[in-house]
Symmetry: C2
Subunit: 166 residues, 2 copies
């Protein structure tokens, strides 16, 4: 889903801008996404002045908002459904600094009827939290309720491939 | 802490604008606060277009960001300390609609060294979640680490009065 809006300086080249322009997405975005050749994906955002707290780090509220978007995206990207959040648990591991590009994703840990549980990760410093130089910013879990079908948002289909551990 | 910025239409008269203008506060605010004669307090915000998700309700990410601010405020207002968030658990009970004024606060459930645990509540429809017509939007718990002293942010002092249950 390429977009006509040019990425900000500091955004990795393999990320594209999401098309989410309305409401809250416009306030806290742009939000980026990548779908990599190895089958992994992530959402991301660049910490700019508008995300800062009084310490000039990324505000914890922005990290929580991003966790909702990044963890929930697994339902959009891999199960192709709309969703609402039921419960999120977020552990703040380290701060995100002004100018850092922050990535996040999640892996599905279970589905039961229309409910999905996920384990999520937010980090900076590379395309995987295990890379040398990468730093974990937040970990957590989520419970989401699936709504109607939402095709066409990603090339991924979790039902057609083994799930990858984060 | 009165402020020269006039409240938006739809904000209850007993709320005043907080002075938080920088960074993320400017993006998602204005954020309001009240300190009532009965010893209770709350933070609040009016759900406007900039907070909406694709369903035209308040985005869950904004509710999480507000939970961080509202739950953590108990450390500012009652213990008069700066703080950082360590862990938040947020349960999404119902949605907040465009145009609704959302309130949130928290009660301290424990302190140990520099760590504070709290129980929080976010609701709409009155100055208490127990009022007729009020509706709970989110409940949760928080763990915060206290930093240096931060006097002058509120008239409250939890060490000088019994804690109120929410």
């Amino acid at each position: 889903m390429p977009d006509s809006v040019a990425p900000e300086t500091g955004v990795p080249a393999d990320f594209e801008v999401t098309t989410w322009r309305g409401g809250f997405g416009n306030q806290v975005g742009p939000i980026y996404q990548r779908f990599s050749a190895d089958g992994t994906w992530a959402r991301g955002f660049l910490v700019t002045d508008k995300h800062t707290n009084g310490f000039q780090n990324c505000h914890g509220g922005m990290l929580m908002a991003f966790a909702d978007m990044a963890f929930g995206s697994v339902v959009t990207y891999e199960l192709h459904r709309f969703w609402v959040t039921v419960r999120l648990v977020t552990d703040f591991v380290s701060s995100a600094q002004l100018g850092e590009f922050v990535q996040g994703n999640a892996v599905i840990t279970g589905t039961e009827d229309d409910f999905v549980t996920v384990r999520g990760h937010i980090w900076t410093g590379g395309n995987s939290p295990q890379m040398a130089g990468a730093r974990t910013i937040m970990t957590g879990t989520g419970l989401f309720k699936m709504l109607g079908e939402r095709p066409g948002q990603s090339p991924l289909d979790v039902q057609a491939k083994p799930q990858k551990a984060l």
